[in-house]
Every structure is written in C-alpha cells, then in structure tokens.
Point group: none
Chain length 201, copies 2
C-alpha cells in the first residue's frame, strides 16, 4: 500500500476519530471546516487520493459515505460471546444481554468457543486472577492437566484442573486451601476446556 503524506495522514486520522465518535462519516464541508479549507474541491481531492491509495472507500455521490478500509487492523480476531462469570464452586452466572469480546484467532479454539469472566481469586495458583477473561473451548472431553469447566453431580459448575487417575477423576482446585476432589467418571461432565486467558490492566 502506498505511503501517505502528512496532510493525508491528518485527514485519515480525523476520519477515524469522527467515525468512531459519531457512528457516521463527516461531510466534505465538515472536513473542510476542521482543516480550515474553504474549498470543498480540496477536500474532495484529498479523499480521492486516500481512496486511490487504498485507505478509504466511497460510494459515488452518497452523503457521508466514506468508509475506512480495515487494512492494518487485520481481521484476525473472533467475536466470542461473553457468557457470564465463573467462580470456583459456584454455577456460572449469566451476564445480561449478549455481550461479546473480541479474541485473537490464535487464542480461540477451533471449535465453538466462548468467554467467561473470572470472579474471585480462587484460581490464583494458576496465575488467573479476579477479573481475567478465560477463553473456553466447548468440548466434552479433556486431557490430564487441562483446566476445565466441569459440571459435577449435575449441580455445580466449577473451574478446575482435570486429571484421570485409576478409573477416577480428580478435580484439582487451583487454590492451596482447597482439597482435590475425587469423583467417578460418570459424576463429572466436562463442559469445556480453558484454552486462553486475557487480562486488561
């Protein structure tokens, strides 16, 4: 893609801000006012140049039809649903509405995945703290040592580490004050496996 001039960069940034803020693009007149340009022809030429260089798209003769081309902001991210909160030992608490979180493709599992927000510090020993987002791949089986969302006895939904031992299933809390729990395999239904963590400071 062709490089921008200083002026073009300024205008592109302005477009970005404006669209972000208003939800629609500025008119040529508004752009001109922002940069103290008295002629719309000047603005128009700038937009044409930006279009030629591939940074924006425009519908012909349509009001406020400038669109930013998602170039460097690559689309390699998935919008996963934020289903709710999870705390060790408590059922998943659904979150209102249908919020989504964008997650890098490399973090999300290949199957259907979703996101839960961690409540409390019960997973602190696995370096997961209160407020972290865990990306969960929706599947019914787990390997030893994986962190799973498990339905225990048809009641509790918990986040634990999963081990299969001597025909039993061991669910290991990531908290030193809690004891590991042993179950018969038919008592434990794996709901999903944690494949990633995100934290925002």
């Amino acid at each position: 893609m062709l490089p921008l001039t200083k002026r073009q960069r300024e205008i592109l940034d302005y477009l970005n801000d404006f669209i972000q803020q208003h939800g629609y693009a500025p008119s040529l007149e508004e752009i001109g006012r922002r940069f103290s340009l008295s002629s719309l022809a000047t603005v128009h030429k700038h937009l044409s140049n930006l279009q030629e260089k591939g940074f924006i798209r425009r519908a012909w003769n349509r009001s406020r039809s400038v669109e930013l081309v998602p170039s460097r902001a690559s689309v390699r991210a998935l919008d996963l649903p934020l289903l709710g909160y999870v705390a060790a030992g408590s059922p998943i608490e659904a979150v209102a509405g249908s919020e989504t979180i964008s997650v890098p493709e490399t973090l999300a599992g290949k199957r259907d995945s979703y996101v839960l927000r961690v409540k409390g510090n019960s997973m602190i020993d696995e370096q997961i703290r209160d407020g972290d987002f865990v990306i969960v791949e929706d599947r019914r089986t787990a390997d030893n040592g994986e962190m799973v969302i498990a339905l225990v006895g048809g009641l509790d939904v918990t986040l634990k580490k999963f081990y299969r031992e001597n025909g039993k299933v061991r669910l290991q809390p990531a908290n030193p004050t809690m004891q590991p729990l042993m179950f018969d395999p038919d008592q434990v239904a794996v709901q999903g496996v944690v494949v990633g963590v995100m934290r925002k400071y």
Copy 2:
C-alpha cells in the same frame, strides 16, 4: 455494507433503544413522533434506506416488524509487533524477523503498543507466567503501581512494578525472593507500561 448518514444513524439508534426497552419495534407513527416528522412516508423511506444498507430487516407490510441485523460491527483487532522476550533483570532479547500478534482492540493501548513474551517465572506473583504475552503501551511515564518496562542505568531492561516514593523510584519485582530496588529518578527510564496479558494453553 454502506455507511450511514447522520439522520439514519439517529433513527437506527432509536430503534435499538426502543427494541431494547420494549421488546418490540416501534410503529412508523411512533418513530415519526419521536423525530417530529409529520409524514409517515418520510419514516418509511428512512427504514427502506436502512434496510437497503443492511442494518435492519422487515417483514413486508407487517406491524412493528423491524428487526435489527446482528451487528456485523467487526470489532477490530490490531496486529502488534512481537518485539522479543523479556525476563526480569535481563535485557530484551529481540525475536527474529518481524512477527506480529493480533490483539483485541480493547486490550491494546491507544498509543503505539507492542508485545513481549515473558521468559521465566519472575513475575509469578503478578499472575504472569513463563510464556505469557504482555501488551506494552509505549510511553515514558508511569503511575504508581503500574507494571513497567524500565531501562535502569542505561543498561538493564527489566519488567517491574513502578512506585515513586520520597523523590526516589522504587522498582518492585513481582517475586518474593527478590528485593525491591531504589533508584534516583534519573537512573530509571520508563520505556512502556504493561496494559494487558494474554496466555495460550
């Protein structure tokens, strides 16, 4: 999909609110009243335009049949450069080539940001483990308690928690076996601040 005009955006926002609040769509007359439009033809034309642009769907000739098209609002992700590895006490070790990591927009700072991969468990007390990716916002100042990438004495580049105390700067390792270090402010140059963490299992 075509972008919206100012008016179209207003109406779309109203539809959104109304449906959210009532559970059903407004009638044309209600929309018109909200925007002080005396002709339903005007409202109808707006809805047609919104439909044409792909933001709503309508059943033909059905009352209150406006439906919002699930936001294909492609939440963008940024491709940030993976600059290298960082371990407490060691200089940043550059990674070969120009790898990038895609990071959700919500995790990345507003300014220029980059990604470092953590080596070793020296930050374990801050729930950052070996192999984690830290998203670093490139700036030169930090507030108390922020985790910073700091250049100390023009030599070492380290990842520490940052505190300003009594005209001195305290760099606090996130590891119980390491002592906090006190410096004169001119000995410490903040390179960036950690704004996010990502982990892949």
